[in-house]
Symmetry: D2
């Protein structure tokens, strides 16, 4: 029986690559490289087949998934031949995308939301395009409580229309500036009260999370946005018995850091300073040109080093800069200045050059499959066993990648093999 | 009660840094940075105090440890003030160094062995210098079986002279070209027969290992030379009840690789090629300018990747080149070309710039302390629990650094805390 | 009036990119980025238009230019859409390619020459394919003197068939192991005598050069092979009044070094060591896996540093390794260890990641146009004013890129603007 | 006859290294590596001998030059043995340092100015220390016009006390936040009026410049601070017939960029983006943690690329971050993303690791000697022939290092050889 995957930020590069890739692997056009769920550790689990996933989602932009995929192909992120072969699948997907919400978004995202945009299904679909635009305009005027209801309606309609046993919601939209929520957000009643009163500090990501939980949909926050982090949302997940996990997919520089930092700890070496610089040019990069969104992102990146190295860490520094020419090809340079025996001062430099979307997409598929399994197994609330997938895993302080892989193995052992 | 540490290659940079550092930490002049035995994992073991270690060893060169230490200070590897403060300790150490053997050594080492050299104790000791030179000349003419006996005599004399409970032998001499031993070397009787017959294929490193085991001395091979690797030597260690371990200290590029490669495996990414280039300028580098010694070294370095990545690894390549100006500052550049989701091709570059001796010396101290403990606890034969310290650990195929740290934790738990 | 460009190594990646690019720029599908002749310095010269160039050449392989171009597109070196748009041009070009000679070639090239190969025009052209194969077989049995005549016949036939005013020959075939020619090769009569006697030491590249000069064709050696370097070939060029230049196109690491090394000289800094490592995976890389061809290549690369830095250079080292996964994407890491004021030791690292063929092809077009102009202006013999294009420029010791650009400006001023 | 060198920022790392190095070379303890005036191009000029230079200066801090030099030795920037050998020279120098001014300085510098500080001559000189402190306190209360007079008095007193023919003033103090001067600063009368009225926008660097010019002292601005940049100061230099030059010594990343960028221009390649990140940990780095000072610095760094590449440059980005552990060892990573033939996208990365003070000090000596010569030859006003030494050379737009070296050769030819 098919499972739905509902992507918040449905027409962004990560979502597009996710859908394209799931279809490519399902149809046998590409091997499942990069999927942890296709690797040795999790290969034996009773996971939903990629071919049984149905995709849809929300986006603030009206754009074509096919056009997005063509842009990714031109940038060398995905093969152009795959895009051609799966054009129909991408168009069908885009037609299932519903207008999203931009409460608390950065300036760049709000501008996207206000622009007219192109047709979601591309091509001739003038009527569809007009309907999307009209609904987007109507939704732009909704109060938070009504937005919450609209999101829930979308999820339930999707489930019903496709006869889905379950819908997993994955947040892959651009990073929001981090809001300061009042203390009452730490209880479910308090948080719901803020939404009811239209408090502007509750961001769209948290509305999406609440709506997913209310609809019984497992939820994954793949971004540093707030999502289900407030205590009130976590309490709702517990009460409603819905599994969820976040925050912020660990795809590049931070993945590397959590593999490397334990080496310094294990060898009793002092890291005097760890300085890292990221440059990227895709839409996420443009959003991070907004200092508030940037701060939300770099804070998480810096924390992992302290968690692993403790007092062995001197200073750390992380910067993200927007360099348009790089597109999706995020390049990160790290300089680790460390001290060894008798005070000898040494350095390690790393330069990571990865396609952001190609790194993120397989993890999105992994998490959708694992949360689907969690729900089937009756798991509720946070799933810290999945910490290996996140930059700031909720429910655990473990940041060491190898230790997180052991947590994952334990989680999988408990979830059990298929029958 | 003090423990002896007998260093083969006693006047090389690694040995000099080891002795200088042990004295510096023992006297409170420096913290034990870089010592795994001073870290969290092994901190609770009942290890011999650094101040209770007495050092001596063999070297084919007649040289001053103090002069060597001054050279390391000039190169920025160790602090000059420490060398000044510990000059007396270094001179006393050098006076305990005995002439070594060069069977099967590379051309560079054989030339060192034949050169007259400076006084081991430096300074005025003309008589000592002459005695060392005379003995070196005499030893140069010995047959392997007589060399074996002479080494054993040196070890026993050292133990007696200093009232040592135990002497751990650590091989830190320059890499030997890898010989091809005949099949009979795989049994103890066969190996001893080869020595008795003066077979030239048994290298000095294996004579040292046999002599150590015969004298009941725990033995560590910190180099890629043969040492106790032949089956005949391993059998002797089992029969005699002596613990030993090797080969080749994991200090720089390989350490980094064994921390990084599991990340690609865990994320189900394919490493299309992993190319690495080392440049260094110390005596080890000069020795590795000999193609046979170089091959012995790079073979081990290449193997770790295959062991961790299996079929996920395409090709690998490791080169070591001698660049005199770099001295002890070994610099290694690795280029990892990897493939992710939908065939996206990405790269990771690392540049490691470390002081070779400062990386090796604390591990030599760690291993001396751990083998001393092993002997006290009655352990015999290979100690694969110590795999984390070696590039090609004997007795285990485990190369993943994090997994090796778990083996080490288990080893330590079995060895138990102090009482 | 059109000019011919005859490419030795006509179906290799450099030649394919050259032809594809010339047609793309001529048809307005791409700007002339990377062409020095389209830049500010040479923009005013009376050069042949790219659209007036007609391409043909020799190759030892029977292969399709279109298939080669598709491979380059798959590797991200050239845009796939360009290859589709120019498929007809590429097929017409491949049909003009004639079987080449492999005297003195490396093992890899000789194996290519002996393999059956695919059709030059691709697709259905079975008759053409068979004719090429038959002629290749016949040519494989020719003596050097007959090969020389056959090459000249090919050049004259091409000139006649297309009504070309002039044909410029550019050698872009894989590097030959460097032969040791006897002293008589330094005079024209001596060199011709060696050819007449079938001396095996005269490589194919020198036969091509002689044949070009005999046919009055300006000649460029874009490789480190011998070509027109022997004194006898240079004398022939002078006597026959034909302009020529070489050796070895300066495309990547060496280009960078000749831009950087003058900085150290101008600031009176000492370069203690300059170590460079290249990895690449195209056919040139495979050929360079042959140690003799490799030595021919790296020798030239090392010399430029000494020429610029003189006694300020300590040691230098250059390696080229074949790493198949990288394809045409040559990656070069250089480590410059230098000494400044009061002996301070500092480093510069560079990592260059370039598409080899995309760097070479525009220079091939530049040189074809410039040699065509030289011939029109009646210039004879070596053209050291074009040193900026070569790793080991003949006729000058100037290696400083900026100084070479001034030589080029002077050459251009003398050649005069168009009228 | 001796020449004075008056250093603004006299107890900073650059000044300390300058004085130490001049004495070391003069006494034959070190070769003149890194001095352009000791290289081939300028070797024949009639320059003042390093041994004939007498040093003094201003500083806002009361600190010991010897202590500073010891810190630099501990960080591996200068040899400790040199500091020991020249301790007396350093103490004599420190005793000639006078309290400076901090108008318009960054917060960090103002805090230094207000802190009590250590003795300038170190050690026992309690009386001297007290006198410096008292004078510093008195000067802190002076109006700009009185400060101007006090600086001039210091310069004249130094000249008289040491019988100096000439005093060259070199500004090497920490970067000031860039002020916005009113339009009247563009005339000499207007600028002097601002000083007379105590206008707070005229920074200390400009007061120093004016005082130097008024006293007939050639002036060099080795920093990005305003100095003699305002039109009013330049006019004063012309009127008074005093030579001067600036701004901002070209020591590391920018030096490299001006050597590399012409390569892209000469090969007609498009630089899509040039991103550069600097990390350093010395006092200059701490000052640059102030965003305003940082902006003053990075603006100059970014401009050079546009000047060389023109429309071939897409975007550029330069960041400087303070990483304390690195001390004087400034590390700069640049990522150049460029486009070649048929749109191929390639990259060049550079990592520069240099000791900031060791790179700057020889240029300070070069400029002092060249400005001394300029004054002797009767040159007045700006000296754009010295552009090669500066990041933002006044009086010329030339940024190409090789072209600047040709300007320097022309300047030297005009200045003529010694007689």
């Amino acid at each position: 029986m098919p499972t739905g995957v509902w992507l918040i930020g449905a027409l962004g590069d990560v979502a597009t690559t996710t859908v394209l890739g799931a279809r490519a692997v399902a149809r046998g056009f590409a091997p499942p490289t990069g999927l942890v769920t296709a690797g040795d550790l999790l290969g034996g689990l009773d996971l939903v087949a990629l071919g049984d996933l149905v995709f849809a989602g929300h986006d603030v932009r009206q754009a074509g998934a096919l056009e997005g995929a063509r842009g990714l192909a031109a940038a060398g992120v995905v093969p152009g031949a795959l895009v051609d072969a799966l054009a129909g699948d991408l168009e069908a997907y885009a037609a299932r995308v519903r207008p999203g919400f931009a409460f608390g978004a950065s300036r760049v995202v709000r501008e996207l939301a206000e622009a007219p945009g192109e047709a979601p299904g591309g091509g001739p679909g003038g009527a569809e395009q007009a309907a999307f635009a009209a609904e987007a305009t109507r939704r732009a005027g909704l109060a938070p409580a009504d937005a919450l209801a609209a999101i829930g309606d979308d999820l339930r309609a999707f489930r019903a229309a496709h006869g889905l046993e379950r819908v997993v919601v994955v947040h892959v939209a651009s990073t929001e500036p981090r809001p300061t929520l009042p203390p009452e957000a730490e209880t479910e009643a308090g948080l719901r009260g803020l939404v009811a009163r239209g408090d502007e500090r509750v961001p769209a990501s948290t509305l999406y999370a609440l709506a997913a939980l209310d609809a019984g949909c497992p939820y994954v926050n793949f971004t540093p946005s707030l999502g289900a982090s407030p205590g009130g949302a976590r309490a709702a997940a517990e009460r409603l018995g819905v599994p969820h996990m976040g925050n912020d997919g660990k795809t590049g520089q931070t993945l590397l850091r959590t593999a490397l930092a334990p080496m310094f700890r294990d060898r009793n070496l002092n890291v005097l300073s760890w300085s890292g610089f990221n440059v990227l040019g895709n839409r996420d990069g443009a959003v991070l040109d907004d200092p508030l969104a940037n701060a939300a992102k770099t804070t998480g990146k810096d924390k992992v080093l302290g968690a692993i190295l403790g007092p062995r860490l001197g200073t750390s520094l992380t910067r993200i800069d927007y360099v348009p020419s790089l597109g999706d090809w995020k390049t990160a340079w790290d300089l680790v200045h460390f001290e060894g025996f008798l005070g000898a001062r040494m350095t390690l430099e790393t330069t990571w050059r990865g396609a952001d979307s190609a790194l993120a997409a397989p993890l999105v598929l992994d998490l959708a499959r694992l949360l689907d399994l969690a729900a089937r197994r009756g798991r509720r609330g946070l799933q810290p066993g999945l910490a290996a997938f996140f930059k700031t895993p909720l429910g655990t302080d473990e940041q060491d990648l190898a230790a997180q892989m052991r947590l994952l193995a334990a989680w999988a052992a408990e979830a059990g093999p298929g029958t």
